[in-house]
Symmetry: C2
Subunit: 609 residues, 2 copies
Amino acid sequence: MESDYGVPRELSGLQNNRLTYQPELPPCLQGTTVRVEFGDATTIADSAGAHAVSQSFPHTYGQRLAHFLKATAKVHGAQIISEHPALRVGLVFCGRQSPGGHNVVWGLHEALKIHNPKSILLGFLGGSEGLFAQKTLEITDDILSTYKNQGGYDLLGRTKDQIRTKEQVNAAMAACKALKLDGLVIIGGVTSNTDAAQLAETFADAKCSTKVVGVPVTLNGDLKNQFVEANVGFDTICKVNSQLISNVCTDALSAEKYYYFIRLMGRKASHVALECTLQSHPNMVILGEEVAASNLTIFDLTKQICDAVQARAEQDKYHGVILLPEGLIENIPEVYALLQEIHSLLRLGVSVDKISTQLSPWASALFEFLPPFIREQLLLYPESDESAQLSQIETEKLLAELVEAEMNKRQKEGSYKGKKFNAICHFLGYQARGSLPSKFDCDYAYVLGHICYHILASGLNGYMATVTNLKNPSNKWRCGAAPITAMLSIKHDGRAMTVGKPLIHPATVDLRGKVYELVRQNARKLLLDDIYRNPGPLQFDGPDVDSRAVSLCVDDLDYMGRIKEVNEYLDKVRSIVKPGCSQDVVKVALSAMSSVTNILSVMSSNGSA
Amino acid sequence: MESDYGVPRELSGLQNNRLTYQPELPPCLQGTTVRVEFGDATTIADSAGAHAVSQSFPHTYGQRLAHFLKATAKVHGAQIISEHPALRVGLVFCGRQSPGGHNVVWGLHEALKIHNPKSILLGFLGGSEGLFAQKTLEITDDILSTYKNQGGYDLLGRTKDQIRTKEQVNAAMAACKALKLDGLVIIGGVTSNTDAAQLAETFADAKCSTKVVGVPVTLNGDLKNQFVEANVGFDTICKVNSQLISNVCTDALSAEKYYYFIRLMGRKASHVALECTLQSHPNMVILGEEVAASNLTIFDLTKQICDAVQARAEQDKYHGVILLPEGLIENIPEVYALLQEIHSLLRLGVSVDKISTQLSPWASALFEFLPPFIREQLLLYPESDESAQLSQIETEKLLAELVEAEMNKRQKEGSYKGKKFNAICHFLGYQARGSLPSKFDCDYAYVLGHICYHILASGLNGYMATVTNLKNPSNKWRCGAAPITAMLSIKHDGRAMTVGKPLIHPATVDLRGKVYELVRQNARKLLLDDIYRNPGPLQFDGPDVDSRAVSLCVDDLDYMGRIKEVNEYLDKVRSIVKPGCSQDVVKVALSAMSSVTNILSVMSSNGSA
């Protein structure tokens, strides 16, 4: 099988056309010399956890941010990276394939060879399993020739397994040592980058000279924080899904007889569902975060949808499109509790057919109430990140069945007088995951690949490659690197199975944010007025080619830029309040600065920031 | 609700961009004068049925082909259509929405207004139901302004109901009379065009002056015959489906752990599955026509797939993509027989929960063997064309379950030693049906719309608009009209419920044709070598924009062109064998022509042609 990886392939006209596309580097990375500026030492957002994280990551906690600048940039203390010894770098795909992943390989390979043609990039075959087994393929121009700007992870393959247990970490370290790697690049989402942080710490502690670099590549779009604005693949996935959702909306409006329940791949957080809502304008979206925040039960949800169906029936509308994130099921409190019980029993080795007899009384009652197909799916063994096998649980079918039963009941009782309710269910994920990447994802991944090189050339360990200002054209992008430890946090909400362990937690949809607000404000219009919108199939030519995800453009994401701005204010104050200035100026400055400092101290210690 | 039809809408950037696209007319339809040439009187392919058809359609059988030519064309007997009185025309969408349908409306409206601004086009609201109820919307430039080149049928809506019963036909005639229609244009597939033929005959018999015109618009691609090369919507559907299938192929190859079973919408014939196979190169496709021709049972099919899985496992491959047409289930002989029993019982009014007790012993045995979800789906009431509710029967899930059971059995017995078999199922139909139409479908539908006008201006009744030479650029297209009666045939195979009634039968995939041969020749490579190919998302700009369906280009479709060529030979013989030519020439001509005539007579009476 391995011999098939990286083989040249017959491509379609469009695939060949995409091969010729050359992403542009932002000015800071053009040419052969790059300047690196080190910013402030990093902390973590949740200051209460800082101590615990610093204890667990003594070597890699508190490292400074890095910014990559033009060689000509005049910044105090920024150094030009002038030495470029030949590097040996390994790269591994982890977790769900995400469109654009191949371009990280391309960008990194190109940067390595530009700076030293003797550098070598080894791809691990078959994901983490290949890393443990030391199965590699040397990346060459020839091998890349049919994979540039193409979807999937089939250049190298992947497994979903983590790099976490002692055996796995040791096998990874043994591979890095045996292959004399200067760097190991891990391409993946929250789980894989958490593993990358741990690996970096373990390597440093064991004096293994391999530096570990993480790259934020996940279709879920949930690896978001102060340093990371977006993930490779999210843009493509949302565009492909939105095309399909919009086609279904058009279909609904043409035939006027079906409700479509569409579940979207994207793990626990609802970013994909939210973005697709903004692009397609379906009638309804149910976000996991809303359900969790309001503690809605499955009966509340059913009622909510039935009321919507009824409101539409009053306008003589018997069709509609409803989006659900795949993570919804884990956000329904009573179902989550049931899942936790099932998973504990499974981990204790209780066999599947015995589980229902060992549940607590109320969990058992809920379990028995659910239709057989869902029961079977809830009994599946949990994933490596402790969550349920979300892609296999047909929440859309469950809700459609419950809504149908309730509508029939209302009809019988006479409280609903419309036509019979008909549902059709879809799960969109696999159809989108292997798509040709959008221009944005091609560009973003390629630039991240280049940044990986500069991180390694700067000798940094435990960093993630970052690009900010992404909503602007790529020539305005800012490139940098952030210590992965700065993205860790410790959950205390009593629900996560992993309480007490520092992890990168998936960012959830911010219910107080601007993006969510956009949907909330239009909820009634969306529900009743069928203001469907079809972004159409992903285009690689023509006026729409540079479009960005709506959520990327709406949010104020430039965290690093704003930190810089704060620093500029501080510098300005310093330059005004110099010996020789008036007493009054000093007085005002003192009062204002003391007030700012007090407010910030209170906010940070509350953890509300 | 009706007030929502044809309302202006908010469109996306790409939708707006598509609005500005102007299809080009072939030279023969440009300008304001068109010449119509009448060809030979038509017969039907199956000469045995000709008498019966001529009896059922005394007014509309045997009409002559019509060709629309440039005003400047010098063809003996072709007349310029010079009078253009104001026409009142009605238009109705029938059956499954197909991308491009809106452009027929646009083309027809434009042609009407160019030739006489006083002409009026009325769209029936909500499909055939709107026709019976005389609910109309007058089409105007304003109304069309947000529907040009857009998908769906939502400008007017549709119902799937036929126009067939005495009440329906009378209601349609009443509507045409009340609205003083000169023409009624029916947009649909085989069923709707059969209805159009019947309606034309009934109207002629009743001296109703409304002329009926059919337009071949169906995503199934099964309205194919000597006169009709392709159907509006098929190109788009296959391209959108192929994009998704290819994405799934890439996914399969990246994760290497799933078999994807993908069922494709397309009714009984397997044209969509065949075309998607040519575009995407999945590992396997099972055509309904193959199954019917070889009388394969459901167990044969299961075994066939299991053997394929096993052959791939021997190459260490545990992933794959298998396509199935939605009509497959009706092509499996024993399942078809079971369905026939169920449908007869349903028509007799037997209630669903009683049916299993009233089946014949062997049908009952098969029924009990099937998993519960399939049993439920087989019990659904048949569609208006007598077929099962194909979109609701999850054949892909049935086969995946049977294959999984068989693989587990083989593993237990030790005859299969590979990894566990895992399947994921998809049904692709609704996601594609509402798509923005491809450039080809936009052009084709728009031209057909124009042709509808010329058919009506020529005073023809019971004709279908036709375009031939479609595989070439649109400036080479030939425009014409064929009597729908020439497409009718009578089935004698003892299986169809409708024996004895002349119908347009869906064209099935020709297992002796070039297109099927392409797939057959490559079957082994497709199965084992993963030669996946990704045509990518539908493009509206760039080099691939004019691509055609593979099957359209491979087949020798130019039937009308070839009939013309035969006629040219006949003319040539006549011009050589003139009084005064040598005895020898006459002798040779006599012998050759008598031989040709004999061969053709034998072939036609055998019905083998």
